[in-house]
């Protein structure tokens, strides 16, 4: 499956079917990441229910140092 993650085109295995599995795949599930799928924020509690499909545009952001 082809995804655009943080602006970059990536191929992820087809057994990744939802946001939770996508974060697992990148070993990010214990990180305080915030996910947006096709410009819609995915609530943390709904990661397992939010499907990921071919050509989705995914943003994964977090807090970094700033003033």
């Amino acid at each position: 499956m082809k995804l655009f993650i943080n602006g970059e085109e990536m191929i992820v295995p087809d057994d990744v079917t939802n946001v939770e599995e996508l974060l697992d795949y990148f070993k990010l599930n214990n990180k305080a990441g915030i996910v947006e799928r096709n410009q819609v924020i995915v609530d943390r509690s709904l990661h397992a229910e939010e499907a990921v499909t071919n050509e989705d545009r995914i943003e994964i952001v977090h807090f970094v140092g700033g003033g």
Partner: protein, 255 residues
């Protein structure tokens, strides 16, 4: 006591978390500053470096109020998106609205800042806009219902201190919400000056993080902000042209 949207803070220093030499120094600086509000930015995660440390993971987030900014936004729309992403973290409901209109000076775009603030207030955020030191703009923001106004002292990271203390004084005098001087503070003198003018707080980052000794500077800023505030509350003497003796002129044994 600094009160923003019915939340009370003992510290009047809001500290940024960018550009420290390392996390250990940063943590010490945050500790000694006694700041209760820390600012952050929202950025894309490097998904291939999941093990990369993150400052937020090194602190007890229950002890602090997180104030994410919308830095990077050039329009109200972008600022609103960043604010919504920040809130989705579940860690905060405050937002520092920062819409930069010019990349060389990093001065805020007042019109987009106003628009973004209005939208975010409607969405239930606690809104603290970073603004230029324009008196009418501050008033317009206040009329919208923002929870604090954060005028810049001088350009972000410039360390030039308060370029227009008169404007700042006008903003403070008319304001019914806290005024937090944000950006441009370079030294403890600058921070104390802001507080003596009557600011409710100071937000700074580079002045501490890029100081030769960030930990010592964090303490210096804490003390100068406390000193400046006490001086404001105590009420300074008026300036006079000529001298007035501190010692009595009667009873002198000479002459």
């Amino acid at each position: 006591m600094l009160t923003i949207a019915n939340r009370n803070f003992h510290s009047r220093l809001l500290l940024g978390t960018g550009k420290y030499p390392d996390y250990s120094i940063q943590k010490q600086a945050v500790d000694v500053s006694e700041a209760e509000i820390l600012t952050f930015s929202v950025r894309r995660m490097n998904i291939f470096e999941a093990d990369q440390p993150n400052f937020l993971e090194t602190i007890d987030t229950d002890q602090y109020t997180l104030l994410p900014n919308t830095a990077g936004a050039k329009t109200a729309e972008e600022a609103v998106r960043t604010a919504r992403l920040a809130k989705a973290s579940g860690l905060c409901d405050m937002i520092k609205v920062e819409v930069i209109g010019d990349q060389r000076t990093l001065l805020p775009d007042p019109i987009e800042t106003l628009k973004a603030s209005e939208i975010l207030l409607e969405k239930g955020f606690i809104v603290l806009p970073y603004t230029s030191d324009d008196v009418m703009l501050a008033k317009r923001l206040q009329d919208l219902g923002v929870h604090a106004i954060m005028p810049g002292a001088s350009p972000i990271g410039s360390g030039q201190g308060i370029i227009n203390p008169l404007n700042l004084q006008f903003i403070i005098e008319q304001s019914t919400v806290p005024v937090i001087v944000d950006a441009g503070i370079g030294s403890p003198t600058d921070a104390a000056q802001a507080m003596e003018i009557g600011a409710d707080g100071v937000l700074l980052n580079t002045a501490v993080s890029q100081a030769e000794d960030p930990v010592k500077m964090a303490r210096a800023m804490k003390l100068s902000i406390e000193g400046g505030r006490l001086g404001y509350e105590a009420g300074r003497i008026p300036k006079k042209t000529y001298a007035t003796a501190s010692s009595p002129t009667e009873g002198m044994s000479i002459g």
